[in-house]
């Protein structure tokens, strides 16, 4: 056999040649069969965002030669890492109008939310045993509250109106003398609704209750100012603003001082609130992402408005019976949650497999249950089942949005044509009035 005389170098070339041939053939077969014509487009910016190349560029030195432990006080390696961490802290605090000393690095918004809610509850728990939150919060806030309920705390889950916004009057009447904390998210991750953070902050301040907000979807996208909005604690996530994953921060107000009980014990880093070595490379990336976000906020926001208007216009112009979930005005334009009546959301997602979309939160996207957020805003069961979330980012292009709109229209029309319910609806039969009999 000729192959026996081939030296190692040529052998690897040969392997590469043949494997390339096979992949080429596979791709050809796949494209003939009508699937796998390239990688899907990414329209799920609420789940995560791609890393900005500028962020990676800032991180690279700290992933290679500048590897010191930022807590090492005795040598150059430690000092340069510490300096980089402090610069990052400065960028983050600049973005939210805080003091750098008020920023605590965590592993992400989930940890920040846990630390804020459980930390406050455990520190002030002797006298104050009541917490207020909303029904549309992120799972990690609701679950932290659930855990506290097990410890004997009382939790009020505020309802929201049909647009997804809470009522300030209801909040005011829910606050009791023993209320320790109000935790309300700034921008909802599923429907993009913005809560009246400034008004809530003012109310909490006047009632002398701590106010925590989960701003993972808000920071870097809309203006957030902890002093102007009277926020006492705020959770931020790195990977939602084009930073790296695995890093987040908790803003903890110093004046007047907010005290927390830490979740973990250790070396006492981050003012003793979050022990463990601060991960320099991703902290640097997070800081750079915040710096860029501050500079680019206006530019990016205008782009989000353009893309979201384009998609909404294209879809509603051609398709009837499309409902936008959430408020039209008090909303972050980068998140568009639409319900297509008479079309099952999961089937549409399957049909749109060349676009990366989600029917709601990534954490619950594995289950077929309709989203609890849509249920909380009072969406009908059938509409809650037919929702799709379109998430745009800085890197989304007009071509991508047009492609998505086109595909979406095509498949919704196809799925509706197959549906007897749609036919009945077209004939003017009110489906909800039908009494379905069971056999």
């Amino acid at each position: 056999m000729a192959c026996r005389n081939v030296n190692v170098h040529n052998l690897s070339k040969l392997i590469r040649y043949f494997s390339q041939k096979t992949t080429e053939q596979e791709t050809k077969v796949a494209s003939r069969m009508g699937f796998l014509k390239g990688k899907p487009l990414y329209l799920d910016a609420q789940a995560t965002t791609p890393l900005d190349p500028r962020v990676l560029d800032a991180m690279m030195p700290y992933m290679t030669h500048s590897y010191g432990n930022p807590h090492s006080r005795t040598h150059m390696y430690g000092w340069e890492s510490e300096e980089a961490v402090e610069t990052a802290r400065q960028h983050i605090s600049n973005l939210i109008g805080a003091n750098p000393k008020e920023i605590i690095f965590t592993s992400g918004a989930t940890e920040s939310n846990n630390l804020a809610i459980k930390g406050i509850a455990h520190f002030y728990g002797a006298k104050k045993r009541h917490i207020i939150t909303t029904q549309t919060e992120h799972k990690c806030v609701l679950d932290s509250c659930r855990a506290l309920e097990g410890e004997g705390f009382e939790i009020t889950y505020l309802p929201v109106c049909s647009t997804g916004i809470i009522s300030l009057d209801e909040l005011e009447s829910a606050i009791r003398p023993d209320t320790a904390l109000v935790s309300i998210m700034a921008v909802n991750n599923e429907i993009g609704v913005k809560q009246p953070i400034k008004e809530i902050g003012k109310l909490c301040k006047s009632k002398k209750v701590f106010f925590h907000t989960d701003a993972a979807q808000a920071v870097g996208k809309i203006t957030v100012d902890v002093n102007d909005q009277n926020i006492d604690l705020m959770s931020i996530s790195g990977h939602k603003l084009y930073g790296p994953k695995g890093i987040g921060a908790l803003f903890v107000r110093r004046k007047p001082r907010v005290r927390l009980e830490p979740l973990q014990s250790g070396g006492g880093q981050e003012r003793g609130l979050r022990s463990g070595t601060v991960p320099t490379p991703i902290v640097v990336g997070f800081g750079e992402a915040c710096r860029i976000a501050k500079e680019e906020m206006e530019y990016d926001h205008a782009w989000m408005i353009k893309l979201s208007n384009l998609l909404l216009e294209k879809i509603t112009k051609t398709l009837p019976e499309v409902v936008r979930n959430g408020d039209d005005v008090h909303t972050y334009p980068g998140c568009l949650n639409l319900s297509f009546a008479f079309v099952e959301g999961e089937s549409l997602l399957m049909a749109l497999k060349d676009i990366a979309l989600s029917s709601g939160s990534a954490c619950t996207s594995a289950s077929l249950e309709p989203s609890y957020v849509l249920r909380a805003i009072g969406a009908d069961e059938d509409l809650a089942h037919s929702s799709i979330r379109f998430g745009f980012g800085r890197f989304t292009t007009v071509d991508e949005v047009e492609y998505t709109a086109e595909k979406c229209i095509k498949h919704v029309q196809r799925l509706r044509e197959m549906s007897p319910l749609w036919e009945m609806h077209q004939e003017g039969i009110d489906i909800k009035s039908i009494k379905w009999s069971q056999h």
Binding site: G38, P50, P53, D57, T397
Partner: protein, 92 residues
């Protein structure tokens, strides 16, 4: 006092930035970089203060370096093209 920046100098860096941006192998980075460079120069068109122009030019050079480095990083790993690129190629 620094020497005033000539029109040719600005045009040169603008063209180089556009050329380098179009080398990003990842579709979304490429489209963003080209759009951002164009819009940035358009935004700063009206700037007439010499020291401010000097400042913008320095910034542009810093960005050019980032683009060049990140294009290399992007080329190091192979990944599939997006559906939209495959579709556009078929059209052409």
């Amino acid at each position: 006092m620094a020497a005033p920046v000539t029109r040719a100098e600005v045009l040169k860096i603008y063209k180089t930035m556009l050329r380098e941006s179009s080398k990003f192998s990842f579709y979304n980075y490429r489209m963003y970089a080209v759009r951002r460079v164009k819009d940035a120069f358009r935004e700063q068109k009206a700037v007439s203060d010499t020291s401010e122009i000097q400042q913008h030019l320095l910034e542009a050079h810093r960005f050019l370096d980032i683009i060049k480095r990140q294009v290399i990083v992007g080329d190091l790993y192979k990944f599939d093209k997006l559906v939209i690129e495959v579709k556009n190629n078929e059209k052409n």
